[in-house]
Subunit: 411 residues, 2 copies
């Protein structure tokens, strides 16, 4: 990783990712292995006038040791100070950068009950903080940098050093840091995604029908649903990019109106465990049957996190010829894999995906078909064979995706 590219990437994350403002605190969630990049971000953030840079460090090895050996009580309660930490920065209007770079196989020999309990405790404790993020009350972005465990999973046949170098190379391409002016490249890309959103928002399809091998799913959409993707706008009007890379446009499925069968097309790395080759059957919005060739026990725990975990919180369209898809790699990291493929998410929907959603209370969101849960887990269902039709209020059927990509041309 050249110093120059690292500087460009840090700048991109700060300016386009969270759009850091003068005197704003910045919170970075980062693996200690990535300290060299975090230091570069901190340096630039202060140069841009950040009030303070706080880093929540994590370490795969310690995470593993804790899941493996700590007393069970540790997973049943979530520390109050951690809640206070996140909420106090959110209250101050901090920007949040999360670096996702966990070894996909990290927790594979850990008892899934412990993971489920930890996720549940965190989910309940972080409700308020999650609302800051999912309602875009603050600016936030999810990015990645290579770590040894993850890089070796993507490139198992080369040395650790080479794997990290290769993964940096891929990431730099996908976040357009290989372009001379990455910020201009992101502006152009955000414009394209906006055109797709505008088209679908005007159409206001009543439902979408997704068909591919192993998939035949009708996804109802809420009244006044909103397609989003690319940039988001925070409560105070700051434009930011919640994911880097991002190739998707997405909306909220109607929580009570999803029917049929859907099959995964890529492995899902869920909190340090891989779930692969799985199939879900929906009735009236709820998962009524499921199986997985790998990680079925983990999938079971995920679905049983709470009532909302069995319903959908996102439907995202990604053309199969996206740059990430074209790399031909499996990243075992949702941030990348979700942007290589159409996907849906189990769990909480973004209230921003329906008109006036951020102002609605829980009852109003439910009435409008917007799902709530403590989890939000994307998984990939797209392929080169995926066809998607939109069905309008008056029953007209219009192709949206044909053979894995847009069947419409945007102006």
């Amino acid at each position: 990783m050249e110093q120059q590219n690292m500087e460009k990437y840090a700048q991109l994350v700060l300016q386009k990712g969270v759009n850091i403002q003068k005197n704003q605190p910045l919170v970075i969630n980062a693996p200690i292995e990535g300290a060299y990049f975090v230091r570069e971000m901190a340096k630039q953030a202060y140069a841009l006038g950040a009030k303070e840079v706080h880093v929540n460090w994590a370490d795969d090895t310690l995470t593993y040791l804790t899941y493996k050996h700590a007393n069970e009580e540790v997973f049943q309660t979530y520390p109050k100070w951690k809640v206070m930490l996140q909420e106090s920065y959110a209250e101050q209007g901090a920007a949040f950068v999360s670096i996702h770079a966990t070894d996909p196989d990290l927790l594979q020999d850990v008892d899934p009950t412990r993971i489920a309990e930890a996720n549940k405790s965190a989910g309940i404790a972080l409700k308020t903080y999650r609302e800051y993020i999912m309602n875009d009350k603050v600016c936030w972005t999810v990015i990645s940098i290579p770590t040894t465990g993850w890089a070796k999973k993507v490139f198992p046949d080369v040395s650790e050093e080479e794997a990290i170098e290769k993964l940096w190379h891929e990431i730099m391409k996908m976040v357009r840091v290989d372009k001379e002016d990455p910020i201009a490249a992101w502006d152009a890309h955000n414009d394209l995604l906006k055109k797709a959103n505008d088209y679908l928002n005007e159409k206001q399809y009543e439902k979408l029908v997704l068909k591919a091998e192993g998939t035949n799913l009708e996804v109802g959409l809420p009244k006044d649903h909103i397609w989003a993707g690319g940039v988001a706008i925070s409560e105070d009007g700051t434009v930011f990019n919640p994911n880097m890379p991002t190739e998707e446009v997405f909306t909220a499925p109607h929580k009570y109106n999803v029917n049929g069968v859907v099959s995964s097309t890529k492995p899902l790395n869920y909190g340090g465990n891989v779930i692969d080759d799985f199939q879900l059957t929906f009735k009236d919005g709820m998962v009524v049957d499921y199986q997985a060739k790998q990680g079925e026990e983990v999938l079971k725990h995920l679905l049983e996190s709470d009532d909302g975990a069995k319903r959908l919180g996102e439907l995202a369209l990604v053309p199969h010829e996206s740059p990430i898809s074209q790399s031909g790699l499996i990243f075992y990291n949702t941030l990348f894999d979700e942007n290589a493929s159409c996907h849906i998410a189990l769990g909480k929907a973004y209230p921003t995906n329906v008109a006036r959603g951020p102002e609605m209370d829980e009852a109003a969101l439910d009435k409008n078909g917007i799902n709530d849960s403590m989890v939000h887990v994307d998984f990939m269902i797209g392929s080169a064979e995926m066809n998607i039709d939109g069905v309008t209020a008056d029953g007209k059927v219009e192709p949206i995706f044909k053979d894995g990509t847009w069947a419409v041309t945007f102006k």
Copy 2:
């Protein structure tokens, strides 16, 4: 650093340092550069039955950037979540391992007002937590491992890699990990320190008179003062070693009864700044005059932290032929330098240094001459020329130290 020595060191810290118990939480304050050693400690702590291992990570570069560039407000308030973090682990009876390994020159170009403000905010906010530590309500230990910045300060003429290797080698010697059975070696060492404590405790000197070049200081001692050193015993009766290495026996000076002049004999690394070649004049326990050839401004801020910062909180005796002193190195790290030399500390005294101290309230401690402050900063005054006499209640003068070492033989 050989894997085998690292394992022995981690074991020593856990068993002799904090004496970790089954189902006890362990908190480690550590630089991210030392992750490899922290992981080893965590692995062993879990093997010994620890309930949970929590790490508070720090990074010199980020600390520097924050002091240099963050908004001033950041130093004027100490985050509530950080207080809650430390107090909640202390309430649970956690063991605390702190790894001191800051680059001594880290903050040398930072405005000392910012450092003083940060220390003051932390000092006020962490009052309750500090009482847990200074009254031995919990088991705690301070240790070191090499970091690049620090190692290069001690060994400026070799490569970073070699400096770290050399510093590891010195640390291993000083903490007796080079012995075949370090734990047995510590037991023997603790016994020796106990003999010195027993001798001085029986004597109950009214005051000590310290004389060397630039030093002529009378240090009154409180009634029923207690000399300690080597092991400490926590509230629940667990025997632990608060410092590794440790070569000192120490007690509390009487806060209102210190008179004369004292000169430093080694540089003091105070929170990322070096204070060197300094002299303090005391009258009735209080510093009434001071000068420093280096870092006088930092010394000024230290003395002005609060009322108690101008009075003494510790007097420690260390023979000049201690293994640390014999290394001939200056470590710019109090944990080592204080164990190479007789020293005194400005600021809070340990209530454990007077009979029934831990049960006394603030007024009672004051009445007994036990100083209170938010700071506790050791600095070195010992040398091969240091002579110390004890003066008994009936005016008898007895030599304690002659030419920098014990003038008495213990049985």
